[in-house]
């Protein structure tokens, strides 16, 4: 395999930082400062991506509803979400009378820490991966399941029946759809034969998993998009916070920065679902490559891997917003029916089909090794 020149990758900057730390600090301090730097970078990225997503959401929503959206602050209103952030930071945090203060306070942290833990495991680009477990997918599923506890506690400790109903709905929805999301990811794990994100991406060099596993992979992709969308409480599945009946659902009583935590984590969960879908099905940060076309591959590698990642994730997020503004809200019984009576059985059969296809060698990489083989 040829070594491609990658002028815009961040690998070199990372190496320079690494060298700089190594020359100036003792080995223990190097790992400590690296940990702190990575944590800071992730936090900053978390906030910046959330701000960008809020702006994008508002613009896309406006587009779908044939209006302008934010357009006063800066050109096309690009600074609107920055202004919103400042507003939310300086707002008063109002303690609720007769609420369980400790749990009320802790709940918002639960939600944001769960999404931050999941966020940390995402491979953003070549070498832009905070930690590469050999059970990356499992880790992601495990930590993202923590968020629901925060939502339940928030709803209960608010001492408000709307919050409570919203939290119970959200809990039921999250637990149900997590099953489907897990199973559809397991389908792809069967196809890739590994749980490690870096190996999953490397396996999709010439053929994305979506095409490699053809029928079962496409079914798994659709199911993952539906259940991921439902897990983030958005779009047609946003009945935990159905405004007309439950005001704002489980975070009705929250104000200021605590509300901001819920708000941020909602947007970041959308990003995480899109990023996982990208990594598992669409080749992650790997540029589009065709076996044998070295010149073409070279050109594709000039576009840095993080740009590929952002592009693919952007498409997935646009899809999510499209769905959100196109479908009416489901009723709670219809929502749970969809999961337990349709998605879950389809998913189980799909997993079995995938196992048969992989074992009998009917994946594209096995059928046409000349075009798609590694």
């Amino acid at each position: 395999m040829l070594i491609y020149s990658q002028p815009l990758e961040v690998t070199q900057i990372l190496d320079t930082v690494d060298q700089f730390l190594r020359t100036h600090l003792s080995p223990g301090m190097v790992s400590l400062s690296k940990g702190i730097l990575t944590g800071l970078l992730l936090l900053v990225a978390y906030a910046v991506i959330a701000l960008a997503l809020i702006y994008i959401e508002r613009k896309v929503a406006a587009f779908f509803q044939a209006r302008l959206g934010p357009n006063r602050l800066g050109k096309y209103g690009v600074f609107q979400s920055l202004a919103d952030m400042i507003k939310i930071l300086i707002k008063e945090i109002i303690p609720i009378n007769k609420a369980d203060q400790l749990l009320f306070f802790a709940a918002s942290f639960f939600v944001i820490i769960a999404s931050l833990l999941a966020f940390g495991a995402i491979p953003f680009g070549m070498d832009l991966h905070a930690i590469d477990f050999n059970l990356g997918v499992f880790y992601l599923l495990a930590v993202s399941s923590l968020g629901v506890i925060g939502i339940l506690l928030a709803g209960w400790s608010s001492n408000n029946k709307y919050s409570m109903i919203g939290a119970m709905r959200s809990g039921a929805q999250f637990i149900s759809y997590e099953l489907s999301a897990g199973f559809s990811l397991m389908t792809i794990v069967v196809l890739s034969g590994t749980l490690q994100f870096s190996e999953i991406i490397e396996g999709q060099r010439y053929c994305w998993n979506l095409f490699n596993g053809h029928l079962p992979a496409v079914v798994a992709f659709v199911i993952y998009l539906i259940s991921g969308h439902a897990e983030t409480n958005r779009g047609p599945f946003d009945l935990p916070e159905a405004e007309s009946e439950l005001t704002a659902g489980y975070h009705t009583e929250y104000s200021g920065l605590q509300f901001g935590f819920f708000y941020l984590s909602e947007y970041l969960n959308m990003f995480i679902v899109a990023a996982v879908a990208t990594t598992m099905f669409l080749g992650g940060w790997m540029p589009v490559q065709i076996k044998g076309w070295e010149a073409f591959n070279q050109v594709m590698w000039v576009i840095p891997s993080w740009a590929w990642f952002i592009g693919k994730v952007g498409v997935m997020i646009f899809l999510s917003l499209w769905v959100r503004w196109s479908f009416p809200r489901l009723r709670i019984d219809l929502l749970l029916n969809l999961e337990w009576k349709y998605l879950l059985p389809i998913n189980l059969v799909n997993l079995l089909v995938m196992v048969i296809i992989v074992l009998s060698g009917f994946t594209l990489t096995e059928l046409f090794p000349a075009f798609f083989g590694r």
């Binding site: 369980d100 749990l103 050999n134 059970l135 399941s145 923590l146 629901v148 506890i149 809990g171």
Partner: protein
């Protein structure tokens, strides 16, 4: 050095939150403290580089069982009110029992710690090894127990459906009350 600091932080968190989980008078709060204990235990597994157990601990205990606990607590009568201890002698009895448990566990750990240490000198266990150990039928492989476990869980599911299923009479009643 770093590992020791992290270990002490986790150990303090586990101790403090276990005591708080038992002494708290509000049942939802004790469930939350228990959750912190379970999460800190997961942190210990992470410290030992045993990532599989870490993920299992987080997803099964913290993500699964605690959600069930909290949901079940919400279904009880007024979970927000403080629980009052009524019988003084029960406290003494439970203190005695937990001390006996501590002694027993301490004794077992003390006599087996050296042996255990010899067992775990292997490299980090990967997911593949885990899978073959779980689903193999050779020596030190657990296919039979794995299958027994799934049969047990299936029986649990069937039992749960049997309990939750409405009989014809009660179904009519609930429909009437719904309307």
């Amino acid at each position: 050095m770093t590992e020791q600091i992290i270990f002490y932080m986790l150990a303090i968190a586990i101790t403090v939150f276990s005591i708080m989980a038992v002494t708290s008078k509000l049942i939802v709060r004790s469930a939350t403290y228990l959750l912190f204990v379970l999460l800190a235990t997961a942190g210990l597994y992470m410290l030992l580089d045993y990532y599989f157990l870490f993920a299992v601990q987080v997803s099964v205990y913290a993500g699964g069982i605690m959600v069930l606990f909290i949901m079940a607590i919400f279904l009880t009568h007024r979970p927000g009110t403080e629980v009052r201890t009524k019988h003084g002698w029960r406290i003494g009895l439970s203190v005695l029992l937990s001390l006996a448990g501590l002694l027993l566990c301490g004794d077992i750990i003390l006599h087996n710690a050296v042996r255990l240490y010899q067992f775990t000198d292997a490299e980090t266990i990967t997911m593949q090894e885990m899978g073959t150990a779980m689903l193999g039928s050779g020596k030190n492989q657990y296919l039979l127990s794995f299958e027994m476990m799934s049969v047990l869980l299936l029986a649990c599911i069937v039992g749960a459906i049997l309990i939750a299923r409405k009989t014809n009479g009660s179904e009519k009643e609930t429909k009437e009350t719904d309307q």
